[in-house]
Amino acid sequence: MIRTAGLQKAYRQAEREVRVLEGLDLEIRRGEFVAIMGSSGAGKSTLLQLLGCLDVPDAGEYWLDDREVSKLGPDNLAEVRNRSIGFVFQSAHFVDYLDLVDNVALPAEYGPSTDVDQHRARAIELLQRVGLGHRLDHRPSELSGGERQRAAVARAMFARPRLILADEPTGNLDEENTRQLVELFADLHEEGITILLVTHDSDVAAIADRCYRLRGGRLENLAA
């Protein structure tokens, strides 16, 4: 599903260079659930942005589903983000002027199908599945933190991507909400969706098949 070789990324800011990833190798097979831990500033979000085609590496190869993504142009990258990847961010961003259904159906705006009714039906189905069936016409700002994260998962699932990238989705949640979200990820894993989850919480990491620590720009294996 995912294979990277010698991935490098540095940020240049006013003459100073911050080297974040230094030759990172990673391989994830289809259907695997992989967790990545690491101290703050280690470059976990940077890695996820590269894998999520939101940014391009300075050097190295990145293959996604047998396609060499590191060679694609911006429009093709956008298409990959639209069809193949679902994101869940640490602080769930939403479009504040759309209701929850339209927010969950956001990927449809950039997808090939234009059947609005069908999009809404799918969004409603997903919201019901994450336990938000009673919040369909609410604005995102009217939701609690846990509800927002569950809605974000529903949105990530909308386009039926085979890969979900989650960047500290439980970072701002209490125990109960964390538990609900972890169950959700476990369900998705059951369904055969490949999941890459960044977390600080070793309890959360414990449900993954494999676990890595990002340190010094490379991944270290951790016993699961």
């Binding site: 979000s45 961003h93 002027y97």
Partner: protein, 395 residues
């Protein structure tokens, strides 16, 4: 098509969420479009009346009028000979006032127009019943007459005027035709004589006519194909008519010119307003651009989010241009309403004809849309340049 419907739907939701901003953003456009609609409505109103009047009398018409001395008939013949090809009609006219009588009906102050066959076409008159003066009538100076609509009704209230006899002054004429009521423009046509209230009788120009002798006329209507022909010929016409005439000059009336004079003020006011309107539209565009730039700044997380879920640069540009165009169109519609009211009030206060129609509406809406698209382009490009990783990470 579907994609654009989605864009518009989304843009509607944005502005519904930010109503106050939308209204503030478009104030300038509202002012600009209402100005534009007013200008177009005034200009269009003037143009339509102008055209209606021209259609009625013909753009290539030149009226020569005697002031004192009558027009010598042989000179008229010379004009006819020289301009025969360009000239549609030369219509001699002499007129007088007298009393008309038929049986017990009697009408005073009837205008008698002594003229020729072509007068019917030159004045765009319509026959209601019977016929107009013919070549035969002209040649033999037949004692026939054609009644204007009103006179016919006064003399023959029960109808059936054609075939009856009327007494005009001290002579008896056979009625051969009755004219339909005249289509009259709302405006005063100046010196262009339109018979008053159709209370008129037309008779062939006669050597011993009621008005003048056949040797001279008091009015001559020259109809050229168009205005350019008429202007080109007018100098020569004047020289021919006034050749060796001592002191007797004639009055040359160009009805088109009189019309233009009449609408001169509208033209000037229109031009002035047009300049002001253009400035207001530019200011309106700046207002929208300003709002859009603030919007883009505020919505960077949203832009990053959309990109993360598959939006291309082009999608983002389309989104913000649509929002800008939509809010401008909304301002345009408000401007149409305000402009229509202003135009009505101006027309009513100054007595100007105004035409609030498709031209005014379309030009207002198109101007608003153009302003919206232009003003939205730069902010949209700014939006498309947002780096998603910077907006999504922490926040």
């Amino acid at each position: 098509m579907n994609r654009w419907r989605a864009r518009v739907r989304s843009a509607l939701q944005v502005w519904r969420h930010h109503r106050v901003q939308a209204v503030l953003a478009v104030l300038g456009v509202v002012a600009g479009v209402s100005g534009l609609v007013t200008v177009v409505a005034i200009g269009e109103g003037a143009r339509r009346e102008f055209n209606a009047a021209i259609g009625l009398m013909g753009g290539g018409t030149l009226v020569v009028r005697s002031s004192g001395a009558a027009l010598p008939m042989e000179r008229v013949a010379a004009v006819k000979r020289i301009f025969g090809r360009d000239l549609n009609q030369v219509v001699p006219v002499a007129s007088a006032q007298t009393t008309a009588q038929s049986g017990s009906a009697r009408v005073d102050g009837v205008r008698i127009v002594e003229t020729a066959r072509d007068y019917l076409a030159a004045q765009r008159l319509d026959i209601y019943d019977g016929r107009f003066i013919s070549w035969y009538d002209q040649e033999y100076e037949s004692r026939v007459c054609v009644l204007g609509w009103e006179l016919g009704r006064q003399l023959f209230p029960r109808g059936g005027a054609v075939g009856q006899q009327v007494r005009l002054g001290d002579r008896v004429f056979l009625v051969v035709g009755w004219l339909a009521p005249m289509q009259r423009p709302d405006i005063e046509l100046g010196a262009m004589e339109l018979p008053e209230l159709d209370q008129v009788a037309y008779v062939p120009l006669a050597t011993d006519g009621l008005a003048t002798s056949r040797a001279s006329l008091d009015e001559l209507i020259l109809r050229f194909d168009d205005e350019a022909d008429m202007i080109r010929a007018s100098g020569a016409v004047q020289r021919i008519l006034e050749y060796d005439a001592e002191g007797t000059t004639f009055e040359y009336v160009v009805p088109v010119e009189m019309l233009r004079q009449k609408f001169h003020l509208q033209t000037v006011v229109g031009l002035l307003l047009m300049g002001t309107t253009a400035v207001m539209l530019v200011v309106g565009g700046i207002g929208i651009m300003n709002t859009m730039l603030m919007t883009v700044l505020r919505r960077r997380p949203e832009i990053g989010l959309r990109m993360a879920f598959g939006a291309r640069r082009r999608d983002i540009i389309e989104q913000f241009v649509t929002e800008s165009a939509l809010v401008a169109a909304f301002g345009g519609v408000m401007g149409l309403v305000v402009g229509a009211v202003i135009a009505q009030v101006v027309g009513w206060q100054l007595g100007w004809p105004v035409a609030i129609g498709l031209t005014a509406g379309l030009s207002g809406l198109l101007a608003a849309l153009a302003v919206g698209v232009l003003a939205g382009a730069y902010p949209a490009i700014q939006a498309a340049a947002v780096q998603p990783i910077r907006t999504l990470n922490h926040g």
